[in-house]
Amino acid sequence: MNKKILAGPYLVWMIGFVIIPLALIVYYGLTDRSGAFTMANVLSITKPEHIKALMLSLALSFISTVICLLLAFPLSMILRNRGMGKGSFIVFLFILPMWMNFLLRTLAWQTLLEKNGVINGILTALGLPRQNLINTPGAIVLGMVYNFLPFMVLPIYNVLCKIDDNTVNAARDLGAGFWQTLIHIWIPLSLPGIISGITMVFVPALTTFVISNLLGGSKILLIGNVIEQEFMKSSNWNLGSGLSLVLMVFILISMALIAKYDKNGEGSTF
């Protein structure tokens, strides 16, 4: 019995929904409307409005990733040290929102942050001035952190759980205090998980257009929004594909980082 046949459905899926679309994007990205080869679509990233969108995307994703990391690492440390029973319940609480639709959760934030939304409602009830919350870069960062935090927590929690207590005890035994143990033991040993988490937050944050659409309004354009508009509004598939190719380079760089630091496949699976 040839077991390769079992891979058939997956192969069909891969070809139909990954390989062919990718090839089409490369084709559209490197041709103009008449089908002739051109680099113009890719090079159009250098246009000021595209550069601005890309830079803003990079900046907001970077900030979100850093915030996620700063929240996730201490949290994972606490979860790990709680021991299995209590720890896994808190992990469960963390995964719980992930089961609800991503759009719904982001729409909920929209309701909270709106000019006449829940938060401003509470503020006015307390006699405080209304805050301009929605349609700001801050709102987008909030949305990204809220949506992608579990992707940072889980890989880090995973590697932290694999660190032997005695390795940490050995460091303390040799004279290391809390911070020295953190810097010389905890962080280096959890690096695969950290890298994994960074990639799993940074890449979706970089390419998102839904969060920026819902929480940034039309005022703030990320590179994801620009590409979306080229496809949906301008019907310029060639330009959209060209910009996608540029974005893909950034994603590939992230993947290369994973491959370099995450040799054992730790942290990437959960």
């Binding site: 005695n166 050995a170 460091a171 035994d173 040799l174 004279g175 205090g177």
Partner: protein
């Protein structure tokens, strides 16, 4: 070799309602090789972890060189630990592993380099500075773990079953290595093991523990030859533990036969437990023996034969001898007086755990 360096005073420890250590008192002298020996769950590792600072006792104090260190975290204690599964830092090379403690203390680079060289030489692994942890065998990793601890010049080295993961031959080699190291360094070793042979080979003092109590403390000879209770006799080496009656000083009756012994002070006609080591039983002609029995079992063990001699009362005596006695043959049992060890019978099961002569 006489100053008490570490004193454990009335230490108790409970985990989730289970008593692990109950009012434990232990004194360790300077430059002593002390072994905590006992079956798993006897509290020996917990005792070590309390000395190392990884556990806090519920009650009691840890006195180190005259000061109470019970509240000090591990990084503030002048002792170092060699952990059971080495616990090396896999993200560092060998030199960085050994240098870890010295770097934390902010020593100069020249001093650290000297120390690394010295430590690697001490554990016979010169030139391994740049190797990764993964490229070393278990025995080599264990030596690096020892090197990493001793470069810090601790007053006491705590070893938690350091040879447990090694194979037999390597374990024996490492036992001699450890004795040599201790003599060269002149520091106190506190060693935890469940392997009685390891304990007998290396220790100055053995502390036999069971169920959170110290059963007996003494030199290897005392522990082996004069076990204070049935647990110690049974745990250290193999032994025949038989009920007997102490007729008077220096005479004990076993299964109706009178054996001369050297023990005194038990009173007259007192029920006791008698310990006789299998190698101390001489098999003689039936008419020359104090007891007679039939050989029922015979196994060749290499150094000696292992035999079982069943006496008419049904007791199976374990006998080790270089002389072979075929199965089915009737033999006499003879034991020299100084090879008989008399113990008080435990008054209750609880007392069996505590030990009778405390």
């Amino acid at each position: 070799m006489s100053q008490p360096l570490i004193d454990l005073v009335h230490i108790s420890k409970t985990y989730d309602g289970t008593m692990v250590l109950d009012d434990l008192n232990l004194s360790v002298k300077e430059n002593e090789f002390v072994t905590l020996l006992g079956p798993s769950g006897c509290g020996k590792t917990t005792t070590l972890r309390i000395i190392g600072g990884f556990e806090t006792p519920d009650t009691g104090k840890v006195i180190f060189g005259g000061t109470d260190i019970s509240k000090l975290p591990p990084n503030k204690r002048q002792l170092n630990t060699v952990f059971q599964k080495y616990a090396l830092f896999t993200h560092m090379n060998i030199a960085d592993n050994i240098a870890f403690g010295l770097k934390i203390k902010g020593k100069s680079k020249a001093y650290i380099d000297d120390k690394i060289k010295y430590a690697l030489k001490l554990v016979n692994l010169e030139g391994y500075e740049k190797r990764t942890v993964d490229s070393l065998s278990g025995g080599q990793q264990q030596r690096i773990a020892i090197a990493r601890a001793i470069v810090n010049e601790p007053k006491v080295l705590l070893l938690d079953e350091p040879l447990g993961a090694l194979d037999l031959k390597l374990r024996q080699d490492m036992q001699y290595e450890l004795i040599r190291l201790k003599n060269e360094l002149g520091i106190t070793f506190i060693y935890v093991t469940h392997d009685q042979e390891e304990a007998l080979t290396m220790s100055d003092t053995i502390v036999v523990m069971n169920q959170g109590y110290i059963q007996q403390t003494g030199t290897p000879e005392q522990i082996y030859n004069e076990p204070e209770n049935a647990f110690v006799a049974d745990f250290i080496g193999e032994s025949n533990i038989v009920p007997g009656i102490m007729l008077r000083d220096e005479l004990v009756e076993i299964f109706g036969a009178k054996f001369a012994c050297v023990d005194k002070g038990f009173g007259t006609n007192k029920p006791v437990d008698v310990v006789i080591r299998p190698e101390d039983i001489d098999l003689v002609e039936p008419e020359k023996g104090v007891l007679t029995g039939v050989c029922t079992h015979l196994i060749f063990k290499g150094v000696h034969y292992e035999m079982e001699v069943t006496t008419p009362d049904g007791f199976e005596w374990l006998v080790h001898s270089t002389d072979m006695c075929p199965v089915g043959k009737e033999v006499g049992i003879h034991v020299d007086p100084f090879d008989i060890q008399i113990m008080n019978k435990p008054a209750s099961e609880d007392e069996e755990a505590v030990g009778t002569n405390e």
